[in-house]
């Protein structure tokens, strides 16, 4: 593990946990618990991002219980997608970020729907399950309700996340951006 990661990973995990916690306590309809993962994935590449995601999930388990550990897959997926987006200048403008975010949201939504349906029968954390229950109440079969609920929330969440990360990357000082060529490409510099 490179010395830079030793400093970057803890900071990024802290971002995941703290921002995620704030979002949860304000009971926003988004999780925002992958900002750090995405940032590190963009700055240093997939392995770093995956590491951040894993550590975040392990520590988040301490706060909310280890039953959600399987969702670490989403952290890995988002790290992968963020790294991909970075390579293709996906953070150059707010619009591009939003588009990439929405696309990634669909993917993450489907995957988390599978986890949520088969391991938890569709009942996981607050917001998304509430929506699921609503759709179920409207008479949709459980699988459809769960899938659409988690796709909807993930599209929203990842769009916001990508836009925020894009804004952060574009605001980074040249000295930092200069050290991370991929990130520079990500914001089209």
């Amino acid at each position: 593990m490179s010395p830079r990661l030793f400093a970057l990973v803890p900071a990024a995990v802290a971002i995941n946990l703290v921002v995620g916690r704030i979002a949860a306590e304000l009971s926003l309809p988004v999780y925002l618990d992958t900002l750090g993962t995405m940032l590190v994935a963009v700055l240093t590449g997939l392995p770093g991002g995956a590491l951040v995601g894993t550590v975040s999930q392990l520590l988040a388990g301490m706060l909310s219980g280890y039953q959600w550990l399987p969702f670490v897959v989403i952290q890995w997926l988002i790290a992968l997608l963020a790294a991909l987006a970075a390579g293709r200048g996906g953070f150059a403008t707010p619009l591009r970020s939003a588009i990439w975010g929405a696309a990634c949201g669909v993917l993450c939504g489907l995957v988390s729907a599978v986890i949520s349906y088969f391991l938890f029968r569709g009942v996981t954390a607050g917001g998304v399950t509430a929506i699921g229950a609503l759709l179920r109440g409207l008479g949709l079969p459980l699988s459809t309700a769960v899938t659409s609920a988690s796709v909807v929330t993930d599209v929203l969440d990842k769009t916001v996340a990508f836009v925020v990360v894009g804004a952060l990357l574009r605001a980074l000082p040249k000295r930092i951006l200069g050290r991370f060529p991929v990130a520079a490409r990500a914001v089209g510099r």
């Binding site: 030793f6 990024a12 909310s64 280890y66 509430a130 605001a171």
Partner: protein
């Protein structure tokens, strides 16, 4: 009360979580939940029970709504009218108790977790340094994050930013803080890398535990016992089929 070895708590918590998954619900999981609560209270982690409830009650409600109320037939009638799904209510109780057990065990572990004793133990046991460091440094990073938030907040207040008062005032102050906070934590991480390197924290090699926590017979017994318990239950579940 003498502190147990850091690994012991972890082993017990892991075992509890494994059992919650293995034991037959609802009987087994409910019993386990009660045992965990008792254990937590006895080990001075009673806080975990309260926090655990705060975390699972909403999930219970959602379970009940999603499966009990909106569940499939066969349904049974309630004395005061309305019907519930038989399977749904069963699942609500099964999954509800299982999650309660896992959450409480996790939180009890978290409440009793002391990062620095853990680091000492990990070093003494020659655990992979990066893993141990990341875990501990991250918990510290969360604190530093808080300190940095405080520093920035003070700086902004000395420039005239209002953070107290009506909800609107406070809400407007949040983005003013969050964005720079994320940025500085990234830029500072960059400087910190230099500090960590020059202090040898990124160096791969044998390290010395300054005050390695004592590992008693009791600790070892407890850890082996938890492992045995998990294996036994797993065996029983498999053969019971």
């Amino acid at each position: 009360m003498t502190r147990r070895h850091p690994f012991t708590g972890g082993a017990v918590a892991l075992a509890a979580i494994a059992l919650a998954i293995l034991l037959p619900a609802p009987g087994g999981t409910i019993a386990l939940y009660l045992v965990i609560c008792a254990g937590a209270a006895a080990l001075g982690a009673g806080k975990a029970i309260r926090l655990g409830l705060l975390a699972v009650v909403p999930i219970w409600v959602l379970l009940f709504v999603m499966h009990g109320v909106l569940g499939e037939a066969p349904r049974f009638a309630l004395p005061w009218g309305g019907t519930l799904s038989r399977a749904g209510v069963d699942w609500t109780i099964e999954q509800g108790s299982r999650l309660a057990a896992i959450v409480t065990a996790s939180l009890a572990f978290a409440v009793r977790f002391d990062p620095h004793r853990f680091l000492q133990a990990a070093v003494a046991r020659r655990w992979p340094w990066s893993a141990a460091f990341l875990l501990v440094a991250t918990l510290d990073a969360a604190d530093r994050f808080g300190e940095q938030a405080h520093r920035l907040r003070e700086a902004q207040r000395t420039r005239g930013l209002r953070v107290k008062g009506s909800l609107r005032v406070r809400a407007r102050a949040i983005p003013a803080l969050v964005f720079p906070l994320l940025l500085t934590s990234l830029t500072e991480a960059d400087d910190r890398a230099l500090a960590l390197e020059s202090r040898g924290l990124t160096h791969h090699g044998p390290r010395t535990a300054i005050d390695p926590p004592a590992d008693t017979h009791l600790d070892r017994t407890v850890r082996w016992a938890s492992l045995a318990a998990v294996i036994a239950v797993a065996w029983w579940r498999v053969t019971a089929r």
